[in-house]
Symmetry: C2
């Protein structure tokens, strides 16, 4: 019975998950842990704040605007940080992922809820903002289901800008010592990331190209954009991106004495 | 290891699934099957076409408009129909559900893809349109990720009406003998359903009230609206709604000789 249940659960379709096909992070965790320990990465006593997943912005009781994000990269980073000994707070939008071991998880739906949860989780030594937060929400979410009016010409959907969580942290009285943003781009990747770095007051931007097959593939090619330059990493599984990023965070927060 | 994996998979969070907390249909299937067999329901040789789940309408490569729908009611109906002996084609929007045994499943993302798949699956003896199809899509899905323009005043999102799958079937040259629509409503449930019945050219509308706690609860209260009146069913698990509906379909397609 149990084997049949495993097979049923493993057969669950993932066709609406743009990051399906990524490596399995539960299986990956042991490898990450070993690699971090081998390299002497430790974040004991540090508080790392991580956001992950999309946000859902309601249009009416049955409709919403969403971002394509499985949350896997953010959850992998939370896993790596916890295994490196950090206290980890993970603010997660709506995703289908288990909570990594040793991680405090807070679930939210909208950008405003995510910002509120982030501010409540401060202070933190580092904040890694991986979530694909909706730039806009509807101006007035309707209490009742919107109906077609028969004209065939639906009214345009009025939008307002959401709060910018990364920029809010960048100028916050309790700004973390290390503030890292993510940028999913489809064009001019490094250029957009450099502009974002300055505009948001972040220390690093992890830029990744989500054009083409990247969102459905096994590997992620990222560039780490800082004020001192651009570091381009090779195509890596998301688990290894998490591993390298947490090692780099530890280098800043806990310089190795060797 | 297998037990740990089952526990990990069973612990997968469901917080963005508005129908989480519904009964488990794998566990329910045996009961449904027994009930149908006990009551002599059979649909052998019949082709039943079912849609389920939401549709996702792209705004740009990373954003989309979605409906809240887990697909569970439609999948439960497909399960019941297959166990009653029908040939079942299930056109599914993006959901996290396993394919019921003996069901031919076709996965789609948008309303237009769903309509195309439905038309290709014809002819059918009965069509049960359970999917929460988006009424609107964006007028022009962008090829590149839309950026904030710095004004703080995003442009409204221009929408156009999607094709109406139920109404298209209602006037189709290959209209199924029995055409059933679903209506998720938050107010004036029966009134909206009666109007929809006439407007769409359907035989029955299964109306359910999605205001309040219904979407997150274990039970579903539906009304079956036909030209001859309204039948109100008690609050039932989704599996039992499927069971009763398929028995009612069989009564029409395969009148019992007892």
């Amino acid at each position: 019975r149990i084997v049949a249940e495993v097979e049923r659960l493993l057969a669950l379709p993932k066709q609406d998950d743009p990051l399906s096909g990524q490596p399995d992070f539960a299986a990956d965790a042991q490898r990450v842990s070993t690699a971090l320990e081998t390299n002497g990465v430790h974040l004991a006593g540090r508080h790392i704040l991580i956001t992950a997943g999309p946000t859902h912005e309601p249009i009416d009781p049955v409709r919403y605007i969403a971002n394509r994000s499985s949350g896997k990269q953010g959850f992998a980073i939370a896993t790596a940080a916890a295994r490196a000994g950090a206290r980890v707070t993970l603010i997660a939008g709506p995703v289908h992922l288990p909570t990594p071991e040793g991680v405090t998880r807070i679930d939210v739906q909208t950008a405003r809820e995510m910002l509120s949860a982030v501010e409540q989780a401060l202070p933190a030594d580092a904040a890694i903002m991986v979530a694909a937060v909706a730039d806009w929400r509807t101006a007035d979410a309707a209490d009742q289901k919107l109906k077609k009016d028969g004209s065939g010409q639906p009214a345009p959907l009025a939008l307002v800008e959401n709060p910018d969580i990364l920029a809010t942290l960048g100028r916050h009285a309790q700004r973390p010592a290390l503030l890292i943003g993510f940028a999913a781009e489809t064009q001019n990747i490094a250029g957009h990331a450099q502009a974002k770095l300055a505009r948001k007051g972040a220390d690093w931007i992890v830029a990744n190209d989500v054009s083409g097959d990247v969102m459905g593939g096994d590997a992620n090619t990222v560039q780490i954009v800082t004020t001192s330059g651009i570091e381009t990493w090779p195509a890596l599984p998301k688990g290894e991106v998490a591993d390298k990023l947490i090692a780099k965070v530890a280098d800043v927060l806990t310089p190795r004495s060797d």
